[in-house]
Subunit: 409 residues, 2 copies
């Protein structure tokens, strides 16, 4: 199975759990969605097989199927940096991520809606997940004031004062028209003290309920985000409250926010175990290839991270034999591809020497070609992991990967 | 006929004039090329039809056919900035240009040769033309001393002292392995006085002869460059001497070096007329769409210019209805494609509003998508011009283009 294998996408008739089972209170809500359509979303999750805690699944969305475990390339500003949709498809990308915070600041979610939604705007006809903007507000924005009502902040672009509420986070994502939206959360840093964490968990639960009430698009699933850092008690408190609200999917937020990889890896299995097994589980903003394997082993289905594109822009390549830095002089005369055997456009056509030259000469094509390869690497890793789970050899697969990568790291 | 039309490339059996007719003195030269192969190059030029001075032709090279008039996208450092070979082919690029000066400085022509030549290095399997480095030395290099023997200069990258001779210019281009190489010339600025121009013409002739004697690759054609600015007398002096040496193709250098467009347009017909009609004629470094049409009307067959890619990186688009600037606020909500009816990937998939957003957000994809469109525009203009010549309506075609472009310029 290669990253190019889209044959997986043809099984449309697969049985699954509806993300939005009909709920009685839907009939008494008052908005513009016709009653007979409310929550009749076609978004479904099928758990196809397991291997220990590792899960092989399939998400069906308005814009098509997603095979899990899945990696979602990050398209922060309505573009996966440097790559065309055509190039993303050529390496098998099935779903990408868009950032609510960035897109509402620029070009504006209402403009995107006016132009037909994010899919049409960026010419991506496969599924899109949008984050809620919470993480970005808490990590990028310059000044902020958090109350139960909202988070007030200043734009990192022009300093203008802005405010995000659970309701506006949902409204923005409904304007963007993503297939999967995320509830607004408060994401504390890894070193948050007990009272900060308590407030973040309390507010995350409160906001999830408000997001759920504000959410009306039936062609979009709304996932909730579990906070609580590496403390299992806080994770449990948060997860239990959110699971009781019956969301169609759950994310683990607040990982990879400053804690050690070991602390994250140790906390993942029990944190994932708090989530219902018949819903997709998404580990937000993670991570390195070894983190993805740890997440999969813990029972995570979805991942996103800027690493493949960011590292690609900085001349760092992921390969099956460990990472390499293309700027290094040792690649100057190196006629080998970035990764032998990789079927991506970059590896089929170009040498490390050519990539080295492009980065030395500051040519745009270097970042483009290496981002393409790195995403191909991530997607191939996921495809290989899916096959390993199906064949119940994920543990051995993971050990082999780690051993191979360590040799040259 | 669209820029995507490669059907033109299938007429392999066309009759033509051999670039390198067998020459007696070839049999007494001493080098490693077997005698029976010497100058048996397959490079040919066929003049298919004319319309006034405008010419419709076809160049056959080692790496395939080139339909003329042709525009050659510029790949200065072994890459057409921001575009993959796949993207270039998607808009119908048949031949691209590589810069001898840049490539010998970095990564080095011997390294390129060691890696299999420029075609393999940059994964471009269609024809490549390399300039001689002369223009760049006279316009980019920091310090220089010109003698009849060589031009000494300092690298614009690290200031290291370097020297280019007619022989080394040929050796470099033979290492790069381009299909068409250019003789080293001295390119004076537009405001050069009489004595500077005299010296430049004298040296250009001297160097052309030395290049011709140094050139041994039989799968590569060597073109000579005519200098002389806008002074027809100097052009005639230079052209007559070079034509007597029987090169397989001729370029007009020293245009678009500071003179007014009107002065260039006025000088072009007589300058082109000095060149043999059975050889391709190349106007170097030109130009704007209106300059290309002026060149075609004057009987020019080949053009190159950085404008489509440079303007594309700066958010300026060429369109059939005149140029537009995508950064302008009027495009913020503009759902139209960059150019209605353009079949390029950019115009088929994306709106001006999206391009506007990409440039506002400083996203790499903006320059890539707009460079792609601008090259598509240039190549389509050439394809349309070829058809107009075939149908003997080039004059009307040119007038119509100029009227359309002026409306919004």
């Amino acid at each position: 199975m290669t990253a190019q294998n889209h044959g997986e996408q043809i099984h449309e008739g697969e049985e699954g759990v509806n993300f939005y089972p009909f709920r009685f209170h839907d009939f008494v809500l008052d908005d513009f969605v016709p009653l007979f359509l409310r929550d009749l979303t076609i978004t479904q999750f099928s758990l196809l097989s397991t291997d220990g805690s590792a899960r092989r699944g399939r998400i069906s969305t308005t814009h098509g199927l997603v095979e899990t475990p899945v990696f979602m390339p990050v398209g922060t500003q309505g573009t996966v940096k440097g790559l065309t949709p055509q190039q993303l498809k050529s390496v098998g990308a099935e779903i990408i991520l868009g950032n609510t915070y960035h897109l509402t600041l620029r070009p504006g979610d209402e403009l995107v809606a006016e132009l037909g939604g994010l899919h049409k705007f960026m010419a991506w006809d496969r599924p899109i997940l949008t984050d809620s903007g919470g993480f970005q507000v808490f990590s990028l924005a310059k000044i902020r004031k958090v109350t139960d009502d909202s988070v007030a902040f200043r734009s990192h672009i022009d300093g203008s004062p802005l405010e995000l509420t659970p309701e506006s986070a949902v409204r923005i994502q409904q304007n963007l028209g993503s297939d999967i939206a995320m509830a607004l959360d408060e994401c504390p840093p890894a070193d948050a003290n007990e009272s900060v964490m308590r407030e973040a968990v309390r507010r995350t639960i409160l906001w999830a309920e408000r997001c759920r009430n504000a959410h009306t698009r039936t062609d979009q699933a709304l996932f909730a985000i579990v906070q609580g850092g590496t403390d299992l008690n806080w994770r449990r408190t948060c997860a239990q409250a959110l699971v009781a609200m019956d969301f169609p999917g759950y994310a683990l937020g607040g990982f990879s926010v400053g804690e050690s990889p070991e602390a994250m890896h140790a906390a993942l299995p029990a944190s994932a175990d708090l989530l219902p097994s018949d819903k997709p589980r998404y580990l937000m903003g993670v991570g390195r290839p070894e983190d993805l394997l740890a997440g999969i082993a813990a029972g995570i289905d979805m991942f996103d991270c800027v690493m493949p594109t960011r590292n690609g822009r900085n001349a760092s390549a992921f390969t099956n034999f460990g990472p390499i830095r293309l700027r290094n002089a040792c690649h100057r005369r190196d006629s080998a591809p970035v990764e032998s055997g990789c079927p991506c456009y970059t590896c089929v056509n170009f040498s490390r020497a050519y990539l080295h030259h492009l980065f030395q000469a500051d040519e745009m094509l270097g970042p483009t070609l290496l981002s393409l390869h790195n995403i191909a690497f991530y997607l191939r890793l996921m495809a290989d992991a899916r096959l390993a789970i199906e064949e119940r050899r994920f543990g051995a697969f993971r050990s082999n990967c780690l051993a191979r990568w360590e040799r040259q790291t």
